[in-house]
């Protein structure tokens, strides 16, 4: 952030980005629901070079019991990166970064779930990043929300997530890894498209007041694209593969 030197042309004179995309074009996204046998719900996402699996268990009993809540079910979330998911081998123990991301993902998903229907229980969302690229927390939320739907957890809305950012003084959709390193700002946004609420919002980098607003709007545009792909993944699972699994 904040202008690290680079010879990379982030945006050419035709408005084309370093990976060939237009400013409002997301990377390639593929989501598949119901990919695991043991999990109650699951989804696999490829989002750019991100490859992420999410598995859901629950509602189920809480251990240790003192964590349970007599008024509502609780949500636990673990975002974890495999040692081979990044360029330098990552220590398998959870880093402070992974712990923070686990928490913001939990709070991004929580508004979408009707956990008050299941007091004293827990829903566990486990996210494994097999390969990491820019925007992995957004991709993780996208997969997790599909996995929660696949698990049949009652939901108020899906949560879809996509980042926007500032690159070469321009607000662009879905910042990739190179743009994140060399660019000026990266703002991941999580969004419930039917309830019209932002449930994840973070920022690295500097934005003016106006850019802030434009960035949110751009990211929400991306979220709406993701939403269509999430819906298709669930439809494919239930109508194409549903019968024989």
């Amino acid at each position: 952030m904040g202008g690290r030197e680079s010879t990379l042309v982030l945006l050419d004179k035709n408005g084309i980005r370093c990976d060939g995309r237009k400013i409002d074009e997301p990377r390639k996204i593929m989501i598949k629901a119901g990919v695991l046998k043991n999990a109650d719900g699951s989804a696999y996402i490829e989002f750019g070079d991100n490859k992420i699996i999410a598995g859901v268990f629950g509602p189920r009993d809480v251990h240790p019991k003192h964590l349970s809540n007599t008024d509502t079910g609780i949500l636990r979330c673990r975002y974890h990166m495999s040692p081979f998911s990044v360029t330098e081998r990552k220590n398998p123990a959870p880093s402070r970064r992974e712990i923070e991301i686990s928490k913001v993902i939990k709070e991004a998903l929580l508004p979408s779930l009707m956990l008050e229907k299941f007091p004293r229980t827990v829903v566990d969302v486990f996210i494994e990043v097999l390969q990491a690229d820019g925007g992995s927390r957004c991709a993780a939320i996208d997969a997790a929300s599909v996995a929660l739907a696949d698990a049949g957890i009652p939901m108020r809305d899906m949560v879809c997530a996509c980042a926007a950012g500032k690159v070469a003084d321009t607000i662009v959709l879905d910042v990739n890894n190179e743009e994140d390193q060399a660019g000026q700002a990266d703002m991941p946004v999580g969004y419930m498209p039917n309830l019209n609420k932002v449930t994840l919002l973070q920022l690295d980098g500097v934005l003016t007041r106006d850019e802030y607003k434009k960035c949110i709007d751009t990211a929400i545009g991306g979220c709406k694209l993701v939403y269509q792909i999430q819906k298709k993944a669930l439809t494919d699972k239930f109508f194409e593969n549903g019968g024989n699994q």
Binding site: G2, I99, K103, M192, L201, R209
Partner: protein, 268 residues
């Protein structure tokens, strides 16, 4: 983890007051609690601050020492920020390694300093790729009455503004301290975080512990001296509409001004 009848009554009281335009401690919606900042409280540290924001109290110390740079960032000094909620700060605080709340707290404070570019890290290099100056900011939460984000952020900022950086010279590939050559830190801007809680449709600046319990969602917006936004963190069990986020940004930019003036006085 169970909200007792008492908690529910408290929540009702708070919400009813808000609907009448009042906060439980009489503040305006966009008003922070009284802020006191004292620097130089820990003479063994290179910089320090004791901050009270209402009844929330933080003691922050800055330690400065030569270190190795991060890989691929050999032309930058190091900044590391930690936090601990001391077990004497709250009956529910437990000793031991930091939980997710405290890790988020430290990382949000860290991000506000780092992303604003408050410290010109390129001025903290002793020998490129080999040896740089490391700045450690450790926040000890002494009394916890809500909104640790802003209290720790102000304490860290004040401690940095008041710190003195020792001088080292590289001799035989080893940094050697040069006595009596301290300098002020290379400050470029003063970041100010404003944390707001949403309760229903109401946006409250700097929620105290009682209000914090009732929050639907919260957001921390950090702005720099130019009034630009340099860090964001949404939290809590619910979300914000885009309109609410716009309103929060306006409040944060406005509320930061007064606090930035207070912080500037700690400088030098």
């Amino acid at each position: 983890m169970t909200s007792s009848v008492l908690d529910q009554l408290k929540r009702k009281e708070i919400v009813d007051l808000l609907d009448q335009g009042k906060r439980i401690d009489g503040r305006a919606f966009d008003q922070s609690r009284p802020l006191s900042i004292e620097t130089g409280v820990i003479s063994k540290a290179n910089g320090s601050a004791r901050v009270r924001l209402g009844d929330t109290e933080i003691v922050t110390g800055i330690k400065i020492q030569p270190d190795k740079p991060f890989p691929d960032l050999g032309d930058k000094g190091i900044f590391i920020c930690t936090a601990e909620i001391l077990p004497l700060a709250h009956p529910d605080a437990e000793p031991g390694p930091p939980g997710e709340d405290v890790i988020e707290l430290a990382r949000v404070v860290d991000r506000g300093i780092r992303e604003s570019g408050m410290i010109d890290m390129s001025k903290l290099v002793l020998e490129k790729d080999k040896s740089v100056i490391g700045i450690f900011a450790d926040n000890s939460v002494v009394d916890h009455d809500g909104n640790l984000f802003d209290a720790c952020s102000y304490a860290t900022t004040a401690a940095i503004l008041s710190c003195k950086i020792p001088k080292w010279e590289i001799k035989n590939a080893v940094p050697v301290l040069v006595e009596d050559h301290e300098s002020s830190p290379p400050i470029t801007t003063i970041p100010v975080s404003i944390t707001m809680g949403r309760i229903g449709e109401h946006i409250l600046v700097d929620p105290n512990a009682e209000e914090w319990e009732c929050i639907d969602a919260r957001i921390t917006i950090t702005t720099n001296s130019d009034g630009n936004i340099c860090a964001l963190q949404k939290g809590g069990k619910n979300g914000f509409t885009v309109d609410q986020l716009s309103k929060c940004a306006d409040i944060a930019i406005s509320a930061a001004t007064k606090i930035r003036e207070r912080l500037k006085q700690t400088k030098g």
